[in-house]
């Protein structure tokens, strides 16, 4: 059993300290770029901790996904905030004390639960190839989960495009795409449908 070895323990504590410290740094550093990188490091450490628990597939997915997301976040900041984020000091918080109190209470409650609850012994043993077992589960006995997750992902793509697109062909040409385009649309006019011109 690998989890009893000292190396795994040391690696876990390394990952844990990095995950928590960099997670806290996200809200301490005074620039959004640094916060983004701190969150990326925290997530890589979380993925590392998952890897130590033999979850190769999920751990690697967490690391890859978060590195990509942080890249998107950096692009987002440059695009919309119109600044070099690394040079912009930032302290934008509200209800600081309430938030701090709520988070401390949460930690005390959850942490004491984690330590005080008499956790049961492990039942069953992990399969020799955990990743293969997961693949078989989602393609056989738990296929419904994947069948549900797939449409949710597609819906997310549609939602993302619909929410973030400025003007679509329906804004310019009307619901039936048969109107003369107005460019730019009149201010205050309903975005959808545009202005019908005399023909």
């Amino acid at each position: 059993m690998t989890d009893s070895s000292l190396v795994v323990d040391l690696a876990f504590w390394g990952c844990a300290v990095v995950a928590v410290v960099f997670g806290a740094l996200v809200f301490v550093v005074d620039s959004m770029a640094r916060a983004t990188y701190a969150l990326a490091v925290s997530f890589v450490a979380t993925g590392g901790a998952l890897l130590l628990m033999q979850q190769s597939y999920l751990g690697v997915i967490v690391v890859l996904m978060m590195v990509m997301e942080m890249a998107v976040m950096a692009v987002y900041m440059v695009m919309f905030m119109g600044m070099n984020p690394a040079l912009m000091p930032m302290s934008m918080v509200h209800s600081h004390r309430t938030a701090l109190g709520a988070s401390l209470v949460t930690f005390v409650v959850l942490g004491s639960g984690a330590v005080l609850v008499p956790w049961p012994e492990r039942r069953g043993a992990p399969s020799p190839d955990v990743t293969e077992a997961l693949g078989r589960a989602i393609m056989e006995s738990h296929m419904l989960v994947m069948m549900a997750v797939g449409p949710v992902m597609v819906a997310t793509i549609v939602v993302g495009v619909a929410l973030s697109t400025a003007r679509t062909r329906y804004d310019r040409l009307g619901d039936d795409l048969d109107q003369t385009p107005t460019d730019p649309p009149l201010r205050g006019e309903t975005q959808r449908g545009g202005r019908r011109r005399d023909r």
Partner: protein, 100 residues
């Protein structure tokens, strides 16, 4: 590495995320807080799976949490973009139309 220590680290991550989600004003920073919270949930589920009952069903649950995280970040970015287009802002305090 025991189930207690893993859960302790997970609750620390969740609490830090909760602080961020409650206290930050910039939408992207609120999302960062939410993501830290989900990271805590992921770690806690992973630990419970490994130490209590390592059969594949638990991993499927972890996969669902990962999917929820993806949906959260994609929709969050889209709403932040919409907010920026409509009001030219990226702060939660200036997006209180439904509150008024």
């Amino acid at each position: 590495m025991t189930v207690e220590t893993v859960l302790l680290v997970a609750s620390a991550l969740l609490s830090i995320g909760l602080y961020g989600a409650l206290s930050q004003q910039v939408v992207v920073m609120v999302m960062m807080g939410l993501e830290l919270m989900i990271a805590g949930v992921l770690l806690a589920l992973g630990g419970l799976w490994w130490f209590l009952s390592p059969d594949p069903s638990g991993q499927v649950l972890l996969l669902v949490v990962l999917a929820a995280m993806t949906v959260e970040m994609a929709t969050g970015f889209a709403i932040a973009t919409l907010l920026h287009r409509r009001t030219g802002t990226d702060m939660t305090d200036m997006a209180a139309e439904l509150h008024e």
